[in-house]
């Protein structure tokens, strides 16, 4: 247990960071138990639709172009083609495929994404703070956030200062998140812990607490650039931290596992976990997101399978 850890708020008050010790063996067992739920037929279809609504459709590559971001936005608006919907509309259990929650891009692409998504409810999320490493001067990271916000980002995904965290300088981690939050203003802030670099489960829990105390609206597992990215056990730690924080403070924090969730089966396991740990209240795009790119196509394939009974053709869907 991380005893005696506290951070000093800007008003000078010291706040203890409550970090429960994690039993890794039982954590793994419990996380595994959520993969053994039997979700079939209409429930499965409903879960798949729910997963689609919760996706932050992401492209974060050095090779991103304006054209690629526009294509991704188009996919966010219209996950399936008109021909696909027409084919499925003849089946009695067909329901229109929903749009995703958000499109997640680099700050330089925010304006492009905003323009492409104008008139829709789809939000534009931007990574910032020198994503993914964050190893750059604070002022530059804050500038990065400012630029993304002024370009119109609805949500900011920041990375924590892992260097400071791993040297035990939790106050710096906290202060930086607070400063990013100030720059964000009303823009939603997701704090990426990059759990693959935090080494221990106790550290994940501790980092979750610090992020929530500092004003995160969401906590997010990973950048997707480090392996392992999102896993069920790590997400479970963070969900439990959110729940404990809610019970202590009444503040509701969202959760975003990102990276490594590639198929519908995995995504439904996550939904089961959220439902059983947090309750159905968290099963909304406002409080739970998947950071993913290839997941959407697998979900669409499963929609096709559930509705028609036939396994889908991969090339029925665009690659990006």
């Amino acid at each position: 247990m991380q005893n005696g850890i506290s951070i000093q708020k800007h008003d000078g008050v010291h706040v203890p960071i409550l970090a429960e010790p994690i039993d890794e063996v039982m954590l793994g067992e419990r996380a595994l138990s959520f993969t053994r739920r039997s979700i079939k037929k209409q429930s499965k279809l409903a879960a798949i639709y729910k997963c689609i609504e919760m996706i932050d459709l992401t492209t974060l590559e050095g090779a991103d172009t304006i054209g690629k971001v526009r294509q991704l936005c188009s996919k966010a608006r219209f996950p399936v083609t008109a021909e696909f919907s027409e084919e499925l509309s003849h089946y009695k259990n067909f329901k229109a495929v929903p749009t995703v929650a958000a499109v997640c891009v680099y700050p330089a692409m925010v304006a492009t994404a905003k323009e492409a998504l104008a008139g829709t409810k789809i939000r534009v999320a931007s990574v910032a703070t020198a994503f993914p490493a964050g190893q750059i001067l604070l002022e530059t990271r804050l500038r990065d956030v400012r630029d993304a916000v002024s370009a119109g980002a609805d949500e900011i995904d920041m990375v924590i200062n892992r260097g400071a965290f791993l040297t035990g300088d939790y106050q710096t981690v906290y202060d930086e998140i607070v400063q990013v939050k100030e720059v964000c203003g009303d823009t939603h802030l997701k704090v990426i812990l990059e759990t693959g670099e935090l080494a221990t489960c106790d550290n994940v829990r501790l980092a979750s607490e610090i992020a929530m105390q500092a004003g995160a609206d969401f906590i997010k597992t990973s950048t997707g650039k480090v392996s392992p990215a999102a896993t069920m056990p790590v997400t479970l730690i963070m969900l439990q931290a959110i729940l404990d924080f809610y019970e202590r403070t009444g503040k509701i924090i969202g959760m975003k596992p990102a990276g490594g969730i590639r198929n519908a089966k995995q995504a439904i396991h996550y939904l089961c976990m959220v439902n059983e740990v947090m309750g159905p209240r968290w099963l909304t795009p406002e409080l739970f997101r998947f950071g993913a790119s290839s997941l959407l196509n697998d979900l669409l394939k499963q929609v096709y399978k559930q509705i028609t009974g036939r396994y889908a053709y991969e090339k029925s869907f665009s690659l990006d």
């Binding site: 028609t308 009974g309 029925s316």
Partner: protein, 287 residues
């Protein structure tokens, strides 16, 4: 208590599936017995593949196909020839299965294995030659070179005949794969015990995992899922069941699968050509 040298303890084998180069049990946990010939004694238990095993096999075949097709034809030829070599090494194991479960005489069983090895060698030889025999430079009116070359169809499902015919279905697998297709094979129920040594032949021949996937199970249960699967590009239907044929043809229309109906039991170039499609390229040569 049975000692180490005891011959009394008989442990019936449970033969697993062959998917993506691995030997998984069926996810369904189901099995069916194969009996010794004219006996109620169980020779082995076989996995009864489910719809999900089939799905996994198709996914494996799909992901392996591009790489297999991308290999040089010469390399595919080498690998098919290697299969023949490995089958030769397991000759006695195959013979024992045919004698014990199908009631073949040793000589008959030996002939069958011989024919299967011949089939592998035959199609190994054709793997880097059929393109030259079938491809063409076409005479066209205009300043173009015009080529036609055969290419693999993609993922081919093979539903074996009701009556087990080893050399025939090995020949069909070789004819399908030599041109760069990958395949999901649903074995005939009565001879399905051969899956074990046959999968071992494939697994030890430098064949990339997923190119050939072997399933044991009930064709009546799995054929509709094969027929409806949009990632399967062609079905080789060697069964004579009229109802199944009609149902498969009906379901296959959704992605315009090519159905090779009741393929001939022969070694020939024509067998390969049932599983290729033709690409014609116009190349400008100027005036």
């Amino acid at each position: 208590m049975a000692g180490l040298n005891s011959t009394k303890l008989h442990v019936a084998k449970t033969i697993k599936l062959y998917i993506s180069g691995a030997f998984p049990r069926t996810e369904s946990g189901r099995s069916f017995p194969v009996y010794l010939f004219n006996s109620k004694k169980i020779y082995a238990h076989l996995c009864r593949a489910s719809r999900k095993d089939l799905r996994n096999a198709v996914a494996a075949a799909k992901s392996a196909q591009a790489g297999w097709c991308g290999r040089s034809a010469y390399n595919r030829s080498q690998i098919l020839y290697r299969m023949a070599e490995m089958m030769e090494g397991k000759r006695n194991e195959f013979i024992e299965i045919f004698v014990q479960t199908l009631g073949y005489s040793s000589a008959e069983a030996n002939d069958v294995v011989e024919q299967a090895i011949d089939a592998l060698v035959y199609y190994a030889g054709f793997a880097d030659k059929f393109q030259q025999l079938i491809g063409a430079v076409n005479p066209v009116s205009g300043p173009h070179h015009n080529f036609t070359t055969p290419e693999a169809v993609g993922v081919v499902a093979l539903i074996c005949a009701e009556k087990f015919d080893f050399s025939r279905f090995v020949g069909q697998i070789a004819a399908i794969t030599c041109s760069g297709n990958s395949t999901v094979v649903l074995l005939a129920q009565d001879g399905a015990a051969v899956l074990a040594p046959l999968a071992e032949v494939f697994a030890t021949s430098d064949l990339p995992g997923g190119v050939i996937n072997l399933l044991s199970g009930f064709a009546e249960e799995l054929a509709p899922h094969l027929a409806g699967h949009m990632e399967i590009d062609s079905i080789c239907l060697a069964r004579n069941d009229e109802n199944m044929r009609a149902a498969v043809k009906e379901d296959a229309v959704f992605n315009l699968k090519r159905i090779v109906d009741n393929p001939a039991n022969e070694l020939s170039l024509a067998q390969i050509l049932q599983f290729v499609e033709y690409k014609t390229v116009w190349h400008p040569i100027g005036f």
